[in-house]
Symmetry: D5
Subunit: 113 residues, 10 copies
Amino acid sequence: MKKKLETFPNPKPGRKYTITHINSEFTSVCPKTGLPDFGVITITYIPDKICLELKALKYYFLEYRNKGIFYEDITNKILDDLVAACKPLEMEITSEWSTRGGMNSIITAKYTK
Amino acid sequence: MKKKLETFPNPKPGRKYTITHINSEFTSVCPKTGLPDFGVITITYIPDKICLELKALKYYFLEYRNKGIFYEDITNKILDDLVAACKPLEMEITSEWSTRGGMNSIITAKYTK
Amino acid sequence: MKKKLETFPNPKPGRKYTITHINSEFTSVCPKTGLPDFGVITITYIPDKICLELKALKYYFLEYRNKGIFYEDITNKILDDLVAACKPLEMEITSEWSTRGGMNSIITAKYTK
Amino acid sequence: MKKKLETFPNPKPGRKYTITHINSEFTSVCPKTGLPDFGVITITYIPDKICLELKALKYYFLEYRNKGIFYEDITNKILDDLVAACKPLEMEITSEWSTRGGMNSIITAKYTK
Amino acid sequence: MKKKLETFPNPKPGRKYTITHINSEFTSVCPKTGLPDFGVITITYIPDKICLELKALKYYFLEYRNKGIFYEDITNKILDDLVAACKPLEMEITSEWSTRGGMNSIITAKYTK
Amino acid sequence: MKKKLETFPNPKPGRKYTITHINSEFTSVCPKTGLPDFGVITITYIPDKICLELKALKYYFLEYRNKGIFYEDITNKILDDLVAACKPLEMEITSEWSTRGGMNSIITAKYTK
Amino acid sequence: MKKKLETFPNPKPGRKYTITHINSEFTSVCPKTGLPDFGVITITYIPDKICLELKALKYYFLEYRNKGIFYEDITNKILDDLVAACKPLEMEITSEWSTRGGMNSIITAKYTK
Amino acid sequence: MKKKLETFPNPKPGRKYTITHINSEFTSVCPKTGLPDFGVITITYIPDKICLELKALKYYFLEYRNKGIFYEDITNKILDDLVAACKPLEMEITSEWSTRGGMNSIITAKYTK
Amino acid sequence: MKKKLETFPNPKPGRKYTITHINSEFTSVCPKTGLPDFGVITITYIPDKICLELKALKYYFLEYRNKGIFYEDITNKILDDLVAACKPLEMEITSEWSTRGGMNSIITAKYTK
Amino acid sequence: MKKKLETFPNPKPGRKYTITHINSEFTSVCPKTGLPDFGVITITYIPDKICLELKALKYYFLEYRNKGIFYEDITNKILDDLVAACKPLEMEITSEWSTRGGMNSIITAKYTK
């Protein structure tokens, strides 16, 4: 799916600063039950030469809407796709999932150049 | 009780990332009074080769529903059972208990390989 | 189950005042799935000649712990049992249930003499 | 879509009591932009002879996941479908929508026999 | 205990206005267990010719600190004592009690001239 | 400014139901100081034959961004403009303003056909 | 103190609408102890021909900063002063006071033409 | 007072884990004014060979109910008593006190073997 | 824009202390859509010889009101302007942006002498 | 102003523990506008041989009520005065100020022996 992601040049390439994007409306489908999952995805990264373009990022997330995929898989896949797209100095992805049977899950994965 | 726990292969075994599962509907029985206790159990771990399967984990917790056991014991026993089941790099269990006589208790135990 | 309920004489029988008891630790079992349900039960009543004794009320609720029964049924049954036990001028029962598959339910039933 | 809805006999048909179901994970699609909308749907009704079955209701809501429909339309259509399915004494539907361009919308429609 | 209560002339006797005093630090003793109870007492009244003096009211509440008395009794007794002391047009007492065994109680009693 | 407002036919014209739109990002300019004011505008109405189109409504609000106008004036003017645009059965406008010198203001105006 | 209050013509004199001003930074002095009191004053009124000017209102409140006066007195005096200044159709004043010895007070007084 | 404290053998003596008990209903008496103080006491410790028994701990706290003692003194005395009773590897006591004259106090004392 | 910023001598130049200013009413314009953006800007710095004057800082922020500029750019530009104006030992700027299409962004940039 | 401050001997001089006093009702006057400022002052210190007496501390704060002084100045002056009075091992003062023109300020200054 990574071809959908777009980038723009970092406006302050010499400074190590952090960018966070929080998507509170992520949804995918549980591959076991076929029922939808709902989550909050938080991306935090230190850009190197390029930044993630926000609108393309939103469309990237929309591609998961009807796709069957597990929590652990999604989180690692988003990290891999976004690192490939913008080659940051550091990036961390956190996914927080809504309650299922009285249980909530949170997955956090990190990349360092 | 640990035979009930199931696992699946870690989808990203080379990366050190964390998984958290929060059970807000844990209940067991106080061995002294025979009255029910209610708690929130939080599991945080860094998987090695295998991950805990969520549905089997839920059924594992259900086995405590009518069992008499103390706070300190439950927390250490859950840690022992889950470490045995998925052999993680690190795991931490926190149990937070509802008010009894104006008092609340929180127990936290940690395992490192 | 109603034989467990106990009462005591209303200390101010001439005055129309209201008593509310909130049980935040109610649990029963879903008859369909065999899985536990968790709820908050609120009882509000105007006593006539007798009041509900609080400790016996707590033991009355404990009898639902391993019983399979639906939300709508529980709420009406609690109302019937408590009205039979203390013959109040008015009584209202509200049950609020924890999230199942992204959905919450609330049932409210009322009795007036 | 209404064929999916199922019902069961009201366990206490002589008493006027209220049932509320809150779906915090409703999602549909904006017919103008093709982008997803997210909402909370609250159903409150006084049953007459039959009640709405909760699992079928959840599947009924899932049919909107990829359907293009406006806020005002959804709210009125859900009311029409659910009234047709369970013929209640009264029913009210409220839909609360997540922020779009700094604006939130809430629609409330009511039916009385 | 009512001799401790003091009053002062209503500064605006012709106007029907309301005065609320909330004591968040009320404590008494359970006559059954000998253990302390903790509550929030809210007094709302429409004064007639005299108002309750606040400092004397605080000392009145302190007399319950080591006294064994039930929730329903306290609420009605406070209403009787304060009505006798300041002869208001209307007065309402609400007592909200801290959690005991997963249960909370709220008692509300009202007086109208 | 009212020419900017657009409408669409009420999808359920026979039913008296309510529509609420909340704009949390309203800003105008204080005519006295020239400094910006920030507010939350809530529109609640019962549509008759037509409904307010949401995107045009957003653009209508944007016209106030650099306009000097007082709180009481804005609230009444928005009510007049929106009533003229969609001829509702009832409409209420509430404007809540951010803190200025330790003070907050809220204005509410209502129209009934 | 009322000479400080200023007014301006009601911009919509034919419509019965409400204006609320909340002062979260009110302070006066307790006449008994000489210690400062802190409160939140809420004014809600339906204007007739004139409205209260906000800046003059703020200066009016400042005059209480070092003045010794009781809760019940302040509330009634503010109501009298503001009614005299703007001759509204209705006005209500609520004063909510910060904790003193575990107790909070709230006074509400209302005027109707 | 320390004779009242009871202990039981640590169920997992080889593991360094933490136990927290929070008493939200602590009350003592100010030695200066004779008026009651209300606080929240938090105990966090790493047990060595023995753990604090919870019911005896509750009765230990009750002995302060009518005792005149200052904030700084109580906090250090509780630490000394509990360390003497259970000889932990580490222990920290925090006492947070309710508002007096617009001021709150928090005291934290720590012991390390 | 930096000519608008004013400063005053640090009243305690020998001590390393921190000053935080939070602007909850920042607004600029998205250069892509021409629609307004709303944000909260937090400035934290350790002053050296001079401090930022607060009123001039407010006017500095007002210059962004109708200016088209991206999130990443604004944050870095504010940091550059303020560092140039007051030559602090350290400064950090955080900008938190309101929801757009279900997504929020936060940018943090830091300067150290 | 420091002569007003009083102290008492540290009841546990050998132990490094922390004391926090939070004054939520601090007020002074802006020297520029003559208008009142409102703040929350937090004092955290590790006592050496003496502790700050709480009632005298309250009276110390009251002396700022009608004094014109800037945020940065107050914070550093309070730190200097309190350090001089009780000669602590460490002390930190934080002042958090209420909203002025949409902006809040927080100042933190620290002393170490």
